[in-house]
Symmetry: C2
Subunit: 222 residues, 2 copies
């Protein structure tokens, strides 16, 4: 398996005032090209990159996948993903706390390795700002990890409202935290009754298959 | 111990363009009034409120403490702190991802219970935006919890650069995570060689005394 080189893109602030319109336009263009864009959001340290690694392994061979890694400064995550042999562009946000549709488009335009079925945007680690900006993705996903607590849907409502799916990660450490999975499901449902919820452990691979199957279905019919 | 009522303040966006100047002015005014303002920052779910509870218990009787709880929407944290009998104002940021000096001033002006020695601002749970805005605090503190990972200083550099002290929380779960305390100290030092580092466990109280003593020293001579 050939490790891909990570290209680093210095993202410029969008010049467009109307992000929603730009997002709808990008979504439409991606649909026409057959590229399913997933926007993956979470707090810092919830396990986005490990989850992404597992997801890529689960879908390898069925879909051609590319990844855009938004990171304020480092390229730690991008190098991990590129090591899987997946085309990866690193979007340096220069301190910006989120990506909008214009920035996402800059990333998409850098994906040059031929046809892509699924493009995954690993957004900046932040439960607040990324929820406010439509990136043009077909679906929004978020990860909440067990150590963060089951009350997060009450405290960061918008993030849970905009997500189609919530992955509850680090299920292996459930015995060591005051985290009640049923209460968490109820709190998520208060914000977003339609959200799909998958408990997973990216470290061990537990639960990844069900989530990857859901993603495959979405990518196959969007 | 009488539980305090939580007052809720709807924070307005600052009209001031020059936040740094406003922050310096607020810092100067607070110094003249003898109020030590601590700005406490972290990711969602790192244990800010539990740490704050332990810190208040450790300093109770020596300092008159008041708390400003920034929260996007809920009042869960503010009610926990008010239950300690400490004056607490809830700053509703209305979706905003950080506090600046103008917003902090709105909170300070709502603290009405007589002289305060230490005012603690629990900032919005976010490792990105709060680092960019000087609140006017005398000192900046942050919490990094073990489950978030020891690489966070590399990935969220500005937050570590602006903090005088880093509390490493949830030390009780160290055996269950790939977190190397020494590597974390090295990563923090790369960003900010002057930062004080205190490993703590807010849940059990481990390490709180050393941190509270440092805080008492700072508040006694700022």
């Amino acid at each position: 398996m050939e490790e891909k080189r990570v290209r680093v893109i210095e993202i410029k602030k969008s010049v467009f005032e109307n992000n929603d319109r730009q997002a709808d336009q990008l979504r439409q263009e991606l649909r026409e090209k057959g590229i399913f864009l997933l926007n993956l959001m979470s707090s810092p340290g919830s396990g986005k990159t490990t989850t992404l690694t597992r997801t890529i392994e689960a879908l390898r061979g069925r879909f051609r996948i590319a990844v855009m890694e938004a990171d304020i400064d480092s390229d730690i995550d991008a190098r991990k993903i590129a090591a899987l042999g997946v085309e990866t562009v690193q979007l340096h946000t220069g301190g910006m706390c989120h990506l909008d549709a214009g920035m996402t488009r800059q990333g998409i335009e850098e994906l040059t390795s031929g046809h892509i079925d699924i493009a995954i945007l690993e957004n900046v680690g932040n439960l607040v700002c990324p929820a406010e900006f439509d990136t043009g993705a077909a679906r929004n996903a978020m990860i909440l990890s067990v150590p963060e607590g089951d009350d997060k849907p009450l405290k960061y409502p918008l993030m849970f409202q905009v997500c189609d799916v919530v992955l509850i990660n680090k299920m292996d450490v459930l015995p060591y935290f005051d985290f009640d999975l049923e209460r968490c499901r109820e709190n998520i449902a208060k914000r977003n009754p339609k959200a799909k919820v998958f408990p997973i452990c990216a470290k061990t691979g537990e639960g990844i298959e069900a989530w990857a199957e859901w993603l495959a279905q979405q990518a196959g019919s969007f």
